[in-house]
Symmetry: D2
Subunit: 148 residues, 4 copies
């Protein structure tokens, strides 16, 4: 049973913007990269081909503490914080050279996908739920952004 | 003095993902598009060339209620919710054909940019602050996602 | 029968990179936006839900003449240059304030999509082919980039 | 002196589109990732902070042979094909499980950046040019796309 996972990642040029730093939308993609790597560590794919269920995000948030720049290497640690009948929640921390860059959350729902493209919330399959366990780490509330 | 602005937008193919819907990271970009359009309506650019100040995001959040699909047209309404000495906050609502798609928030800080690339929080210039006024609309708390 | 179409577009902040200009990968997305708008003008969607056929790109190229910057408005004109039994080709020109920014090409193939995710080249359906006609405009070969 | 470099990469979910495959614009980003890794292997950064020169792309092309899907691992090999006084050209090959996925080219120009944001072609600095050497590999012309 997996509770958390860390990936190391380097900032790509196309992730930067005209302010010379990583565009804030990318932090949500970094979190998702870590989430999908966590699922692979748990022996799963979050999006197998032809699957009848899916995992849309129902909520996401991020606080940005410091800027990331081109070619910097950084770590993304994702932790499972809660598993309910129909949802999973994560907390995520991004650090670079020992400094906190950003902290975020993701909440995903298990849905059944119909041929017409609609989705309906369903219970998480047992053989998925059994692969994850909420982390026992308790985070202190993140400090205010260093940009403030 | 501007308090809110709405843009109409069509989903582009590159914004969709293998689940057949807009990838969640795009909603943060939609919010930013509306924010920058609001600034233009207020007679400003949020990133004029050679400017000594910048406006990094210090926080962002989004709740996703329904999926958006390729070629759908939708509206993004952004409202100023608070202006402090050094920050501005917004609330954002995305709707499609009368249905709520997503609701989000953005908080930005005014910073001074140094030649070495570092940033330091500074007070919002008076001639910027005077262009915006917090919206008096009060939102009911958004309902839980329809995906739940 | 449609041969060409022009869209007007404004540079978004997330399309810029740390060089302060639009990242080159975006020009391919701009071309695709114009292509899909051309199809809508022809009364079609290039990706209707549940469609048994698809239109992957088999080739794409772009020459970059001048830089585009945040908030600049520019035009993207796409022209059908050739329709064969199984492919369509386009030429594209991007201009800003009367100056050539970039010129490109796209070639797409009509494919049948199988349940296992594989694709196989097929003939373009008659009711699609009849909506388009190659443009009679002949472009002078684009000049060398102004960046050279 | 470096002539080529290969990176291994996994397809991220946000790189896929509603056709269930990697969006074609991403292949240009994959090429750039390999290019920047090649520069790092040569002991250089293509975009050091405060640099007075830059390397905009003046041309890019790609032919797409097979689709890439979520979570597939693939290789990107970039080779220097030509170095002139003011430009560098590369050829790129992307393969997955021994199969050719895509082949592309990039051509970049060395430019001087002025405070007003304009760029002007300049000669490649000697200490940059001396780190690279055109590859002696000669590619057979790539076969037509397997999608045709």
């Amino acid at each position: 049973m997996k509770s958390e996972h860390t990936i190391r990642r380097r900032v790509q040029f196309y992730e930067t913007d005209a302010a010379g730093i990583v565009h804030f939308s990318w932090f949500f993609r970094y979190m998702e990269e870590a989430e999908h790597a966590l699922w692979r560590e748990a022996g799963l794919s979050i999006h197998p081909e032809q699957s009848a269920i899916g995992w849309p995000r129902v909520g996401a948030s991020c606080e940005f503490h410091r800027a990331l720049k081109f070619e910097q290497e950084f770590d993304v640690t994702i932790r499972v914080t809660e598993i309910t009948k129909r949802t999973m929640s994560y907390a995520c921390e991004m650090t670079q050279a020992g400094q906190k860059i950003a902290t975020g959350t993701l909440k995903i729902a298990c849905v059944s996908k119909f041929p017409d493209g609609t989705m309906k919330s369903v219970e998480i399959p047992e053989d998925t739920a059994m692969r994850f366990k909420p982390s026992e780490t308790t985070d202190p509330r993140p400090p205010a952004s260093d940009l403030l």
